[in-house]
Symmetry: C2
Subunit: 464 residues, 2 copies
């Protein structure tokens, strides 16, 4: 939590969920203590604890748009506090107190949040301009309409929307960039979000910086805007589940809790249909893991990858190295709508109990290169995004993102090793665990990226 605006009476705190690449904001009028939360996540206990500690009253919760990447905390915040739940007009969100159109204002003590219709990421999208009692703009909560160096992607409603939303988005951008140069821009989507292609890790910017540096602002016409903006990578499968949930807008639990499972209880959960998801570092997973478990390390976009390969309705039993790690994993899964979380197993207990473990063969690019250049049989799978693959990949490699591996597993040669790599070992860890679940035994986890192949003096191939 970072203070990003501090000009009496306004205080704005930014709450970053790095696994989502998103920020929520708490806006406070320090004179009255009235607070509004913008784009809250559903684990609202954190905002409530901060408000309690500081003596703020949560008066409103606002969504900038119908979120596709997480479950809005608005309904839960409203249920917990009685605050006003405000959303864009024509968003189709149920159970709201106010629907806002461009120009509408919502008071936060003596200040106001003024809605600016800013379609582009989605059609109903609003940005909120925080103005003081004199009407002086203090900050722009831009949602996905203006991100650091980009704007949020135009294709989440499907590829038929790309051009329409891009055209709207370009007009939105031009409109927002008429605001004062010095104005703080506080986006919801940032670096690491699959909702955009941010190349910066900065999570705040200014109108002036964006007017100067945002490539989309430089595009001389819509065709050139599209050439930048309508080029996006693939995004997690769970996104398709979020908008209906956010429109239904049922309140949930404000607090995230999890319970530790005994080995027997874990067995029961798995026997009852739960999928085992191991959130430990891949080094630990590779050394010894529960057979059949998926590995999505907690030190990355954990929920995005779990939600890409496991439907949010599936029961999940976590495997973790510690209670804090299990709690964080639980929190992240709750945020994207997993609602049947059966608890967590301490990996040490499994081993201490003498239960059978599986291991993964780890290798370097050098090991893989040796096998390849010896002319041995091996299938190489590159699980990176298309743009990474296109820039340079190992000759003869198969390109398939981890979620696609079950679909190609039947065609893989099971008599010979299957080596999986990405850029860092993170995504390949998931890929490896998915192949093991498909019954492919001889899987090699290559924990280096293609630059290690290049460093050996071997050429990469591009897609073109």
């Amino acid at each position: 939590m970072t203070t990003v605006v501090d000009s009496r009476p306004a205080l704005v705190e930014q709450w970053v969920a790095t696994e989502l690449g998103n920020s929520s904001y708490v806006v406070v009028d320090r004179n009255s203590g009235d607070a509004a939360v913008i784009d809250p996540l559903c684990d609202v206990d954190r905002y409530l604890a901060a408000a309690r500690a500081s003596g703020w009253r949560v008066a409103a919760s606002l969504d900038t748009h119908v979120h596709n990447d997480f479950v809005s905390g608005g309904p839960t915040l409203r249920a917990a506090t009685g605050c006003v739940f405000a959303v864009p007009d024509s968003s189709g969100i149920a159970g709201v107190d106010r629907t806002l159109r461009g120009g509408d204002e919502l008071a936060v003590g003596s200040m106001s949040l003024r809605a600016i219709h800013s379609p582009g990421h989605t059609p109903e999208h609003l940005s909120y301009l925080l103005v003081d009692a004199d009407g002086t703009p203090l900050a722009l909560f831009s949602g996905g309409a203006l991100m650091v160096g980009t704007m949020a992607r135009p294709d989440l409603l499907g590829p038929s929307w790309t051009y329409a939303l891009s055209r709207m988005g370009r007009e939105t951008l031009q409109q927002l960039l008429t605001l004062p140069d010095a104005l703080s821009v506080l986006p919801t989507h940032g670096g690491g979000s699959f909702c955009g292609s941010a190349t910066s890790n900065a999570r705040v910017t200014t109108v002036g910086a964006e007017r100067r540096d945002n490539p989309l602002a430089q595009a001389r016409d819509l065709a050139h805007f599209l050439a930048i903006h309508a080029k996006q990578g693939r995004y997690p499968a769970y996104y398709a589940r979020m908008a209906p949930i956010n429109r239904a807008a049922e309140p949930g639990a404000a607090t995230v809790t999890t319970s530790q499972l005994s080995v027997a209880a874990f067995d029961d959960a798995v026997a009852g249909g739960a999928i085992a998801v191991d959130c430990r570092a891949y080094a630990d997973f590779d050394a010894a893991h529960v057979p059949g478990s998926l590995n999505v390390p907690g030190d990355g976009p954990f929920s995005a990858w779990v939600g890409w390969v496991v439907d949010i309705g599936t029961p999940v039993a976590l495997v973790a190295a510690s209670e804090p790690a299990a709690e964080e994993a639980t929190r992240q899964l709750r945020r994207i709508g997993f609602h049947d979380l059966r608890g967590w197993l301490d990996a040490h207990d499994w081993i201490a109990d003498g239960r059978a473990t599986a291991t993964v063969v780890r290798c370097t690019m050098g090991d893989l290169a040796e096998r390849i250049l010896d002319g041995e049989h091996v299938t190489v799978i590159d699980v990176r995004q298309e743009n990474e693959w296109a820039q340079g990949h190992l000759p003869g490699a198969v390109h398939a993102l981890a979620p696609d591996l079950p679909g190609i597993a039947a065609r893989l040669d099971r008599r010979e090793p299957v080596a999986v790599h990405c850029a860092t070992g993170y995504r390949s860890a998931l890929g490896v665990s998915m192949l093991l679940r498909e019954g492919i035994d001889d899987v090699w986890h290559v924990s280096e990226g293609v630059e290690a192949w290049s460093a050996l003096g071997y050429p990469l191939v591009t897609s073109a």
Copy 2:
């Protein structure tokens, strides 16, 4: 049919099947009239007619390797003539008269075909060196071991074979290039074959030309060889069906025949499970076609695309503009193992009979650009191969080869147009007809390639 070697007593005729990108060869010893056929297709009536006309005796039929792209004519030629059917040792082909290893010779009158083990495209692959009675080499039948400017792909047995076959292939290439510079090289696979990535339309070459110009011959080590050779596009699905058929080696009909269907008989065929395949030019198909029919124009790699989207066991009823076109389409389908061909309907009869026809909306890139830049909804699908896509595509387009369209059809927005393009209108014609079969009504056939988008001043995007 072209004479490619003519030096008494040797005569070699090349029979090109452009739809396969392949050549078969008839080798004749003019002193004795003995002839051998190398890599014959299964419609052997053509070779037999030529032999009859010239007074040759077909003494042998040789395969260079277990073909993955067509049904060998060897078994049928043997059944029709009693000739020797000779294949590589360890090819697993049944019912043969001789299995050859490197160094083995097979006489053609006073000349001999000397087998050279040349693995790379497949492990058992043989090339055949034609030598005269003095042992002087006259020509090399290189199969897929040496093509004009390349060698045949190393991945048809699956990606786990790529490195092993590439390593063997590099050694094969080095060995073959020690033959005399002036020696004619007569490959089976050539330009247009999905078995290789030939960039030349030339179908004959020499050892010297290949030593000088073949990029694979220049690769300084296996890693650099792989960077050229282990980069291949996708290939037709029917390939997976060919090796088992060629190993079973059952003789078939020597002659291709087809019968014209009345409209009623055509209806019966379709009602009985036949898929309607229209081999007319796409302009004709777009103007009026039998609802539910696929369009694979005859003036291109017809059989490759039919065999990519229709299993060879499926009954097929052709729609054609003329009897010669229907016969050619039938011949091509027979060559890749379609064996339940129900005959052909003259498209004029359908129309003359007053039957309902369907049409396709044709448009230019300019029409599509107008819709895109007006910000209208439209899904753009680019059905080209990955390397073409990677070099430059329309922003916001979806990349899916025609065979993949049924798999994505359920996710397409059916309320808005779906525009399909390739490079020339040929592959998009198939894509359009497949989407229509999926019940998507508003399909636009863009009959221009991406260069037309560029020519309008609009930028393309690359994959990298």
